[in-house]
Every structure is written in C-alpha cells, then in structure tokens.
Symmetry: C3
Subunit: 652 residues, 3 copies
C-alpha cells in the first residue's frame, strides 16, 4: 500500500445495513481505496458479556471488499461498553482532583488497570481470530487516539500500585530513589516504596523528579497497553500492519516508545481546530482561521514519519467544519484537497477522511463528513475525488526526500518544562516548532529525530533546542557530527533525574562547547530585549560563561548566539524574527541551498515531485526552481488553498 | 388586586415585635398595600422538629392587617432549618463536581429528594391550616427563587434514581432510549435503565440527548416540587392566588411548565446587578451602570406576563444598591420610581420593593432597603411614595395592550445551545433579546410566547430565532400564520431528541420554506463578515440551499436573509446593526406603525396610557404621538430616570 | 546581636559533610555572622519513628561555631516526615473543596490536629534538650513560614471539632451565637454547637460572622501551635531569642497575636516575586521588574518591627532569581545589596540571605543562592560581601527613628473585606499600603500599629483606613489623640460581630465625628469619578450625613474628605493622585517637615544615619538635606540599585 491512496472512516453500525452497498459503491467511485471501521463498535460486537456478534461486521467487510476497498479494523478498546464498568468498577480512571470519571462518553478506562487490559486483549483476540483471514482486511488500528481528553494520567489506586512497582524495578532500593529524587530537600525521604503516593493533591509542588517519573510511568502504561494488542494482532497476521492514530501537539506519552509496537504511525489531522486550540497569537489565528497553521500539519507529518519508522498515514483528515473547538469555521474551499496533498508530499501512504457521512446523532453531530447527514455530497466530497484523480493523473509516487535539516523532538523535555517552566510559557515543543517553521520558510525539508538518535551523519544542520537531558546515544551522535549543530536554550540543563548537572548545562563533553550556563533571567510575556541586528529575546535569557565566540548579542551586551567551531549555542528564547535570523545564519554558514517562497506557500519533495501548497488566503506566484523541469499539476500561479506540483529534473 | 398597587418585603422575625406596629403604620402611610412575609422563617416557625410556633406570625399578620395591608405568606421551603439536615442528611444537593453542599446559607435541598418534598408539603399544610383564614391573607408565595445559586441540577443518588425512573416512563424500553440518544455512537448503549448515570464527571461530553433529558428531568422536578405546595394551598383557599418569584435571565428550568401550577407569576427585578452579571459589553455596562439594561426588565415583564397567564407581579424590586454583584452602584435618583412605573406599564398588578428595612446582619447586610438600618428613610423610600401617589393621581389602570409583535422564547432551546453551542457564545436567549430590543426601539409593544403556542393570529410580525426543535403546536401555528414570520438562525435544526432532522433544518413542511441548511460556519468572537448595505454577521453563518429569494447577502455573496412569501429566514447571528436592519425591514414589509423615540427612552401601552421611561443619563425630549391626547404625568421633557405618561385619544 | 549583621540559610544535610568546613570558612570570610539551619531536616533528625539522630547536626554546629558563626536552629515542623503520616493519617489538612492534601511537598499538616501538635512539641523538646547548650546556638526559629501555600485554613473534622469547641468557649450559649451571627436571617439558627459546620462547600455565602469566626479560630490555632514550641524553647534557654519567619502580604492569620509568643519577628523578603504575584498594574510591574516594588519591602520592615516588639530580622533575603513566580527575572546588579541596606535602615538586626548554595535537586533547584550549584560565587555573593564591609566601614548602628507618621494595619479587617468586599478589589491592606507609599514619597518614616494600640501620642499624623471595627483600646486612643487623624473609607463600619453598628459607621463617640455613613456606591474597576482639584475616587464612594466641614468634593458635589477639628474622614477609595493629595493636605495641616526625593528613591533614618536607596533603573541625584552633615557611603549621585548613606548632624 505504498502507492498514495485515499481512505475514509466509516461506521456501518450507524446506518441501516441497506445503505452499506450504495455507500461502498460511492466510495469506490470517488477513488477511495481504504476504509477504517470498528473502533467504537464494542457495544455492537459484544452487546452483553461474552455475547459476541461479529456477523454484521463481517457482512460490512464483505460489502466493502466487493468494491475493492481495503478495510482497517480498529480494536474498540477506547469505548468499553457499559456492562464492562459493572464488571470492573475500578477500571474508571481518576483525575488529578481525585474524581473517578464515569461512563457516558469515551476513553473511560485507566491504563494501569490490568483487569481492563486483559479485557482489551480478549476482544482483540476475538477480532483477530474472526476477521484475520477476511480478504478485505488490510490492517489493524489499535484503540483510538490514546490519551485524548487527558486520559494518559490516572490518579487511581491501580496507578499508585503500578507506580510503586515500577519505581521498585527502576531504582531497586528506596535509598536510590531518595537520592535520585532529592527527597532530602524538604524531608520527603521515603522508608519504603509502599509509602510513595502519586504527585497530585499536594500542598504545593512535588519534587520534579517525582512528577517526571510519574509521567514516565504513565507513558509506559500506554505503550504496554498497546503492545498487548500489537502482539495478538501480529501473531495472527504477521503480514498485516498494525497502526495507531495519534494526535496533534499531544505529548502526554512518549510516541517514539509506543512506536516500537506499531508498524505504521498515523495521526488525525484537524488543522483548523488545532490552530484554534493552540497557543498561537490571535493575529495568527485570524490569518489562518480557515486553513490552519501552515506548518503544524507538516511538522506532525515529519514527526510521525519518524515514529512510524518511515511509514505513516493520516487516519482522520478534516473534511469540513468540526465540532470540538470553541468556534468551528468552514475551511477555505480547496483545503480538504490541500491538506491531503501536503500529507502525501511528506510521505503519507494513505490519507483517510473522517468521516464518510456526518452523523445526525451523538456527540459529533456537528462534525462534517464527505457526505451530509442527508447523504448529499458535502464540499469535501468533490475535493477528495479531485485528489484521487490527480494522484493517478500525474502518477504520483516515490519516497519522501531525505532532508538536509533535522530537529530533535523529545517527549521527556515536554514534560520537564511543563513541570518546571521557570518562565510561564516556556516549552520544548514551542522551540522545536519555531525552528521548524523558520527552516521551512526557505523551502527546506526537515526530519524530526528522537532523542535517542545515535547518528546524525548526512545532515547539514541539526538543531536540538530546549532538550532536558542528553541521552547517551545523542551525546555520542553530537560528538561525532560533522555538520552544523545548534543547541540551546536550556539544552542539557538537567540530568535524567531532573537535577542540575554537576558542571552545569549544557553538559557536553570538553572540547565540544567549553562553556556553562550560570544564571537564568526569565521574563514575563510582553517583556523583550532587542538583539543587535534584529529580533529580540523573550521569556528566557541565560548567562553563559566560557570560551565560545559571540555571534550575536543583545542591546545589553549579553551573548545570544555563541559558537565553537560548527557548534552553536543559543542562550535565549527568541521572537520569530530572532529565530529566523539564527536559522538564516546557520543556513548561510552551512551553505545549504534554499528556495524563495511567497508568503503562505510551503513545499516538500517526494520522489521526483516537489509539491507546493498555498496556505495564504490569496493567490501567490511561484518561480520555477533550478532543479524543476516544469509543473505537472497546477502552475506558477497558485490560488488560495491551491496546490502546484513540479517535476524535478534531477534523478531522485 | 388588579388595580396597580405597591408592596414591600418584610421580615418581622428580624425585628423586635415592638417595632412592628410603627413599621406597618409607615408602610400604609407610604401607600403600600401588599406585604410579603415568611419565606425564610422556618427556623422560627418550627425551631425544633414538630415544635410549630405560628403565634408570632399571626400577630405580625394582625398588625399588618390593622393597617389594611394585604399579606402574602411565603412558604419557607427555600431555607429548611438545621435540624432538617440531621433528619434527612441526603436531602443536600450534590454539585457537578460531586460535592455535597452543606448547611449554612440557603436553598440547600435537592429537588429530587422525596423525603424533603414531603417535609415541604408538611410545613405548607401547617401554614395553610393555620393562616388560611386570616383576614389579612392576600395570597401565597411558594418557596423563593427556585433554582437560585445553581440549585436546579443536583448530581445526587436521589437525582440519579429519579432520572432512571423518569427515563423509564419516557422511553418504555431501553432500546427506545438507545435509539433516541444515539448511544451507538461511542458504544454508549445501555442494557437497562439501571445502568444510566448522570451526565457529570465524564471523560468528555455526554451524548447531547443525555444532557438534554437530564435538564428536562431536573426541570420537571422543580415543577413537581412546586405543584405539591400549590395543590395544598389551593385546596385550602381556592380563591387566593399562589405566586412564585422567578428571576432574571434564569433558564435552568422551564418556567412555562412551572407556570401551570401558579396563579400569578412574579419576578425579582434587580436591574443594576443583572446588567453587571450579564454578558453585555463593557461599554454597555458603563453606559447603564446606574440604570440597568433598558430592555432587560421589560423583556422579563413580558415573559412573566405570559408565564402567569396574563397575571404577574414584581415580588422584589431593587430600591437602591444591592450586595451580590462584583460592584454595586447606587441607582440614578429616580430609578426606583422608573422601574416601578415600567413594570406597571407592562401590566404588573403589584410592584413590591425588597426590602422594608436594610438588615444590619447576615449575608445581605449591604443590600439597601426603603429604610436604612437605623430606620431613617433611604432614597428609595420617597420614590416609592411618589409612585403610590402618582398611580392614584392619574387613575392608572387598564390591561396591557395586546402587542402587534411576538417573539417565541423557549427554555429547551436555551439548554440545547448551552449543551452544544458549536460557536462559543451562541445562545437562544441572546437572539430573542436582541430582536426584542430592536423592535422596542421603535416604541413597539412585544409579546413573548412559549414554544407550544398553537395560534399566532392577530400578530403582524412573529419571530422565532434559534429554536432547537418545533413543537407540533408551533409547527401548526406557523403553517396557519398569515403575518410576517422571521425564523433562524438554527431554528428547527434539531429533533426533540437532539438529532439533526432527516431533511435537515429548518425542518418546516414543504411549501413554507423550500430550503435546507447544509453547513455551519461558526466563528470566534471578533471575526465578523460585513453584510452589503450595513451590519455584519458574527459567530454563526449558515449555508442555505433551495429556492427562497435572497433579501440580504454578505460581502462574500452568502445569503443572510431570504424569504418565501411572508416567511423570512435569517441564516446568521448578527451584530446589533444587522439585527436592527432585519427588524426595520420586517416592520416596513408588514407596514407596522412605529414611534420615534429618543435614545435611552422606552415606552409601553397599558389601558389608555402610554408610559415613557428614560433610561438615559441625560434629559430627553418626547414628541406627542398622533394617538396621544396629552401628558397626564410629566411632559415632553423627560429627565434622566424620568417618567412621562401620555393618555391615548383612541378608545382602548 | 543588635549590631547589624549578615546571615545565611544553610542546609548541611544537602551536602557531603566534607564540604561543611570550607563552606563555613567562606561564610566567615564573606562577613556572615549568623547561619540558620535545620528547618526542613526532620527526616534526617528522625529517619524512622523515635530513631533520633542529632549527631550530624551537632557536628554541623561545631563546624559553624569554629568559624564564629552563630547558629539559628529551625524546628523542622513544617516538614513532618512520611512515617508521621502513617502514624496520624488525619493530620493532613483538607482544602476548601474537601480534598485531603497528601504528602510529597511541605506544610502538609493541619493546625487543628492536636496529635500532630504533640509531635511538634516532642521534636522541639528533643532539639531543645540536645542543642540548647551548644556554644554556637544563637536562637531558634519556629517552623517555617506559617500559612504558606494557603495552609492556615483546613476544612477537616479536626478543624470542625476545634471550631465548635472554640465557639462554645466564645459564646457560651448557642443563643448568643445565633444572635451574634444573625442566623435568623435565612433560618440558619442552630440548636446546639454540634450542629455547626465549617463555612465551605455551601450553596452560596455563609453568614459573614460565621466566616469571620472561622478565620479567627484558624488564626488562633496557628498562634497556639507556635506557642507550644515557644514555651519549650524558652523554658530551655530563656536568654535565647525565638524567631519566626513571616511572609509578604500574607494575612491569613493575625501576626500580632502570634507575635505574642516570639521574641524577634523575621520575614522572608523576595521583592521581585512578590511584585510579580501582587495585584499591582502591569505598568508598575514592568517598571520595577528587576527591583521589586519600592515600598513593599519597607512596609513589611515596619510591620514586622511592630510584630516583633521592636526586634526584627530578614530571615531569607532574595540573592538572585527565584523559582516560584510565573517569571523570575534576574535582579538589577546591586539589588541584593540595596535590599539588605534598606532592611538595616528600617532597623533589621540581621539580614540573612537564602540560601548559601543553590540546590541542584528538589523543588527549588532554580532558586539562586550566594553560590552556584558548582560552588562558584553567584552575583549576590560579592554584593553580600560588600554590605558586610560597608557596615563595618561606616560603623553602622543605632535604633530606627521613631516616626512622626503612623498607620494602623489590622488582620481582621483584611479578612472582613475579603469576606464582604462589596466592591471586588476593595481591601484593607490596599488602603494602608497606598497611604504608606504616599507618606514615604516625602521621605517620611512611618510606623505600623496594631488595632489594639491604646496610645497614639507622639505621632503627628495617624491614619486608620478601612478598619472593620474599633477595638476598645483604639477607640480610646483616638479619643485622646491630639494629632491629625485620618480615617475612612469604611472605618468603623462594622461591629466585632460583623454587623452594621446601630448608629451606622464610622461609629465614633459623639463629639469626635458627628456624622454617619448612610449609603455605599460601589463601582467596578475602570469607572472613576474625578475630584475637584485633582485625583479621582474609584471602587468605593460613601454618602456621609452630618456636620463635618467639607475639605474636598468630587465633580458631582459629593464630599470626599471632611473634617471635624483635626479628625479627617475620607469617604472614598482614591486613585494614587487622590491619596497623594489627601496625604499632602494632612502633612501641610500638621506642618510635618518633608524631604524632596527623586523618582524611585526612598529613605529611612536609623541612629545617626539616613539611608537612601534607589529603586529606579537609572541614576538619580540627591540633595543634601538640612539635617545631614554629609555622605558617609556613596554620594549625591546614586546609581540604579544604588545606596547612599548620610550622617545626620542632629543628635540622635
């Protein structure tokens, strides 16, 4: 399934069986090749305990298969039925305020609850057994959007017991834990693992290492929960891919770790709601109200390509207005096509729209589908059909280009700065995404790397901003890297136990960066310090001590960018202008070739194609690049929400 | 008691008995004719269980009666005494966070608790028996401000059990409920009514139909609670009215339904605090800081006239600064008079000030009365006396005029859009009140109608904005209506089970409006789309498909107002300018005669009188209208907070 | 220890014992003379129940003593170890939402829990016994920052039981309580003390007297908790001072009352974080981002001088960036010196920096010390050393001058207006601090007095703003005072039982102020009424009735400042300009000599010295005052964050 294909999410259980055939026929006619089903259907698969009814699902797969549609079957574990709660009353998660969350929506389970984990294994095995040989079966999805609605963390007795066990395994002795957490600080020393509680409902902050370990523990429960299903599904059909659908800017568990037990990463792309719920400025939100942030989807494409070891899908693609943001604007005409093209450009194998037909009932009745509730085509319908046609028309294929630029993105660093921002608003992901956007403005492809990356060779520029702690692998990779490396601010400022390293940050070996960060000046929103030459620092300013050469300094004479050979250290959080200046400087130093893109236009190379997309709300004009042989879709004039594809003249 | 009269709220239990006689004499002298007592006195009526002491209350009624004051006796059920909580510990309501709310303020009971309901019946019966024949008795008030402080909804075991029973009665089978709620959506299907829980403390949203039914259930408990008292009181004295005092912009239960078991509706009018706590703009709040919103009291007058089947009172009228808003400004001199006159203009039988004397102790010690705590007159005292004198002087009487304009206001629609706003800030009442103000700016009287209205004849213009679902009666009334009808946005967009109608909204019969709403573009605050000719849409924009003629469209060419014959559909929420344009257009189409009113001036016709009130903070100048014979109170020049009454030349 | 000295907070338990000697030597070399230790060390002093290990602490004291450092030993009761919670599970406090707060941070105990109070006594006795004769011992600190993190109020069964007992002792009969609280108001009457609950989780507000009594009760538990330790420590070493370290703008308990069982008051001064967390305007916060509010530290110096009966310290002085505000800016270079000098100017005996070395682990790892985590000097190190040198160099000594101006600050008034602001934002402390700043702008020294002050003689001007209720002592003092007295707004507006006085406020005896406040006009933020001549009223405007002469009135003709002889009554809350005008007027009337200070500069007299400090971020120029003989430190030019000390020519 490496040829780009369209998919759709379908809920046969929501519609009379009499409608299925026509639905399937229209899907196929539209150019859809993949259909995801089943992920919320447990109450229909097992209406009462042990009364398993898969007949209807098999019939639905039969219908879809008859129209050459490949079926991805989702395990329904995100929505255990009501009777399950009677069976396992303590499977319901407990929130940080101590409230047990009830039945009546979805994701009402505790990742630490082993009884429910066994139930999830049971239903997965049932599906694997019954559907594993169905000819329409194309793969599996495990659960749905792990962690959605803040469900990664549960403060239940099950979580507490699991956490204690996990700590015992991690530290061996309580003394080792006390040392690692620094519990001597406020007489927080424990005499045994049984004394440790979860870090909620305290008088003030828990020890940061306590918080961080609870996040690590919780993250591992998500991975463990997934692995149970993965192992069952792979045992049944080693040849079929197991997929999970992740989300945007969601970092409560470590996706790289979970990625170890999936074959393909996918994510659910709702660009407009994601922008609405983000911390972007009101001006930015207004500018891209009907398009979504022009770099956010792309960043996640690149992230999940890494999480999926190169293989990734869009499992749910926004086809029109959604229902879950405070306001849910209609996308600009063309966006449902643009988003799909951009995903394919970044290497997606499948882009699957959510959902086939708008449901007239339930929580998401205001969420558009490709069809309206009255089965008439919604605007996204024709756009999806156009994409299907265009893919074929230009013979779109190929692997996403290996980028010259790489950024390290790290889940533990997200947790670390949430636990201890020191300046409200300071976060790891913010820094990564700001750099991502600045590189991409030059038409540069970017790879996203995990913090366990052991080899950076092949990249011209690598940036590792705001990393909590070095892994051994990354420390090694950095030492051996011969490209241009940008680190800071705050990179390497902690040990793995959330303490300040003995020699202070950035804690690199001697000879790499002979300097240390001696003091932090953290600033409230709205206070900025201008940098000589342009741009400003904000939120975070470090004082650095040592030998590196000063490349940029602020108007107070404080070094902002320093260098030692090809290693650059940024001592501050910057505004957009400063981040762009730093990136421009690195690009110039590294002599990396760039493109000149009109405002709002972004691009990516896949195979022999360079795909341009226009997030601006007005037409823009492209210039044919030296490595382009001509346009094979669209042209130099690219409308608002438009797509232009150039064929590259170079061999791929 | 149909001749307009003044009243006052009095708490004999707060003052030494020696003061009662002088108080009563001063009341009578001031022109007061009605006194409400008793509604918070349970701990004095029954200090310990079954130790009933009504002697003091009878003596208080004797004193008041001696001064020809009619007494309204409030049942004290809003403030059960402390010992009651020992008797029924689970009578305390539980909030949405799961906290049982304790004793120590008021309204600490759960409407679903049948044990407390029986206690309420018991004390009501005791009062009815003991006081029913008292010569001073003029009527009863049930409880006090049902639902105040968010007490309509309780998430207690009693509420859960009651809800299950109610659902069983409503749906008969669990299958019917599953179908109605669309529980298949996320495997939320129930196997029995015993599995259903209240829709709080969930992981994410409950099914909207689940939420809506819980609101319906809770609303019905309030009605049922009231009916128990009503039946007892009417059985004892069928000739005396039973009254309840409602509130401003309070919609947690259906007041029309509760109105079925009262004889007279009343409400508690605190215009300044109501404006302070409303969602009006800061500019508007500053402009009317010392007057209150110029249309809000009037709207509620018209609403409660309908709730009371034509009979209504002000039970509590603000006489000066209150204590419960964030800031509590002194009213403009004259407002305590203006508010009373405006209420009478809209048909009030009684306007009763709250309260006689400011209490020096307790929660409301900063709430002004007609008297200061030291028994000296507060500014409202003289204003009340002036009103009493003026009513007599001009022989004010008559019924409120039947309006040419009507608006449908619906409690279920309030709930529906709170449950599913789709655009944060979208609400039913907002739309109704915006239209109300726009009509009233032309001096037009307006009636407020329930969603069960079966006949619209007699009205020139009827507007039904943002109605969730058509009732059978209203559907019929609309079909038969021969005036101008305005509906939308979002009117008829749901079924009674909170689902999208099969043929989509506005879901009217063929031939009425051959169109359907196919898509919603919902927008954040601050984003507006200009309409050609003036005004702008905001928050909500619909795409409409079908045949109607376009009357107004926005600058993007999207239809905003469409018409089919005399039926107009508004596809968007508008800013004030747009709402006014639409109303002006309808008035012109319907050829409805209007008045020209200075800014801040409002008017209403009752009997042969047109009463003008000036909410502006500066003097305004009136023009004698063609149907007016002259002024009988005040004149063409109307001061800030002033009142002018014209006598109509036409026969009433 | 009356010669000004520097101190530091040190945690030997955080560092290898091998480091102690070098640390002590550096401290002594830097000029430090006092070292606080021990206040968070319980888990090291008693690792398991009854396993007491004081050897290490004695060795630490030995080391410090060898370097002539005096040791203040803190009782470790703010951080009971984990095993204590197993012993007394209900010692954990319960917050207003009903959640029991867990172990894992600090201050996890309930002041009402008598079992824990006994444990605190036990460990205190152990320390007293073991360390009482240590030659290095210079005094004791009880607990740490009572009330920090909102821990004064607990809503636990222990607190409820204690409150009931306390009420029984206070009122004797339940009838007396009912009368005092005005429980008749909403049928809240109690039949017995056992029926009384804590005023949390109610439907709406509790009776204000109920709230106030709960605050009084809770405040007394803090005092009682402290007194247990005080008595033990004084019994062991009557000659050594017992100290507690209070906080900034913290008013949950009555510090004057607690001050009865300490010998020296101290407080923890973090000017930058305090400003960040205050309700000052964004402009003010930006102006003093790196300095802190220029009057806040000084106010607390003067307050705690009174709390400590003339003896006070800074126990924790910010030496650099801290970790607990939303943003934590680096202080201007020089501020660590300026803050110390200002404290000494106001009479501090010791200024002790927090902390010696930045901890690399635990919750406060981002909190700077005098040393960095790598033991290198942080910027505060040299500044501290400079202060030590300068103190010696100029022979700084002497008592703080008795001020001509006094302000009454009252904890109960803080509680009263938090319970019943009537205008959101109205508070007691706001009024006191605004007057403080206005007086201080003229270079005037100010004393802060408790509400129990019985004699005001010696002061030229006394101000008592926003006082809830007169004490008998203060009533007497006011009657006998022959200086200029300013009271109002709201002063004397309540009885001690939180009721309006029978003759209304300000409730002074006849002949003092023959007037009464008859009405309150409370206003939202942003609405101001200009005062003729300059300035404006805001939030709070009173109508006053009676004979006093009008000194200032607003543009509506409402009296703002009235006088009767030398007693002035201010009827409103004023903006800064109005407060300054009123103060200027009083100063002129009282003929009080003033200084002219540049913007941002403040001063105070101690002994023969006048100390100038410059909070501005730019250099300022001083003028030698007539009573000054010349400068002994710095000069007329005072840099940003600079200090200049003048010697007075007059005899002290």
């Amino acid at each position: 399934m490496t040829n780009p294909a369209l998919g759709v999410c379908y809920y046969p259980e929501h519609w009379p069986e009499a409608m299925w055939e026509a639905d399937a026929a229209r899907m196929a006619e539209l150019g859809i090749r993949v259909v995801r089903i089943g992920e919320f259907a447990w109450s229909r698969l097992e209406p009462t305990p042990s009364d398993v009814r898969l007949d209807w699902m098999i019939r639905a797969m039969d219908v879809l298969g008859r129209h050459d549609l490949q079926v991805i079957v989702g395990t329904p574990t995100a929505t255990p039925p009501r009777w399950m709660v009677d069976k396992h009353p303590d499977m319901l998660a407990v929130d940080a305020q101590g409230h047990r969350k009830g039945f009546g929506s979805r994701r009402h389970y505790d990742f630490s609850h082993l009884g429910y984990r066994a139930e999830a294994a049971r239903i997965t095995q049932i599906l694997a057994d019954a559907l594993g040989d169905h000819p329409a079966l194309g793969g599996w999805q495990t659960d749905n959007e792990y962690g959605c609605h803040g469900t990664t963390y549960s403060y239940s007795p099950a979580a507490r017991d699991g956490f204690r066990l996990w700590l015992r395994n991690r530290y061996g002795t309580i003394g080792a834990l006390n040392a690692a957490w620094g519990t001597v600080f406020w007489s927080m020393e424990y005499n045994s693992f049984e004394q440790i509680d979860l870090p909620n409902l305290l008088v003030c902050d828990a020890a940061p290492a306590h918080e961080l370990d609870f996040r690590r523990y919780s993250s591992e429960q998500v991975s463990a929960f997934n692995k149970v299903q993965y192992d069952i599904l792979k045992a049944r059909r080693p040849d079929l891919p197991v997929i999970h659908n992740f989300m945007s800017r969601y970092s409560e568990f470590d996706h790289y770790r979970l990625g170890e037990s999936i074959d393909i990463a996918s994510w659910d792309s709702y660009p407009i709601g994601h922008l609405a719920k983000s911390d972007e400025t009101p001006e930015h939100k207004a500018q891209y109200l009907r398009q979504g942030d022009p770099d956010n989807a792309a960043f996640h494409h690149d992230l999940y390509r890494t999480v999926g070891h190169g293989r990734w899908w869009i499992m749910e693609q926004q086809p029109g207005p959604v229902n879950w943001a405070d306001a849910n604007p209609d996308p600009l005409p063309g966006m449902a096509r643009l988003w799909a093209w951009e995903a394919f450009a970044h290497g997606a194998e499948v882009v699957s729209y959510f959902r086939w037909r708008q449901a007239p009932f339930g929580q998401e009745q205001m969420h558009a589908g490709l069809l309206r509730p009255d089965s008439e085509p919604a605007p996204g319908y024709a756009e999806a059909g156009q994409v299907a046609q265009e893919l074929t028309q230009i013979g779109f294929a190929g692997a996403p280009a290996r980028a010259r630029i790489a950024l390290v993105y790290d889940y533990e660093s997200e947790w670390a700065w949430e636990i201890q921002p020191q300046a409200a608003g300071f976060g790891h992901g913010n820094h990564v995404r700001a750099l991502y956007a600045a590189f991409r403005k030059h038409g540069l492809d970017v790879d996203v790397l995990p913090p366990t990356t052991a080899d950076l060779s092949g990249y011209q520029i690598v940036a590792i901003p705001a990393l909590m702690a070095w892994t051994d692998e990354l420390r090694e990779a950095v030492a051996n890297f011969d490209g241009h490396l940008l680190i800071g601010p705050r990179t390497g400022s902690k040990t793995a136990h959330f303490a300040i390293p003995p020699q202070l940050g950035p804690d690199l070996g001697a000879g790499l960066l002979d300097a240390r960060i001696t003091r932090i000046d953290s600033l409230p929103e709205g206070i900025e310090v201008a940098v000589k030459g342009g741009g400003a620092t904000r939120l975070w300013r470090e004082r650095i001590e040592g030998g590196p050469e000063v490349v940029m300094e602020d108007v107070e004479g404080v070094p902002v960018l320093v260098s030692q050979g090809k290693l650059f250290y940024l001592t501050a959080s910057g505004d957009k202008a400063l981040v762009q200046r730093v990136v421009d400087y690195l690009i110039a130093e590294a002599d990396t070739p760039t493109l000149t893109l009109p405002a709002g236009v972004r691009c990516r190379v896949r195979g022999d194609f360079r795909i341009y997309v226009n997030y601006a709300s007005s037409e823009q004009r492209l210039t044919l690049a030296p490595d382009e042989a001509g346009y094979v879709l669209g042209g130099a004039s690219i409308a608002a929400a438009g797509v232009t594809v150039a064929r590259l003249s170079r061999a791929d």
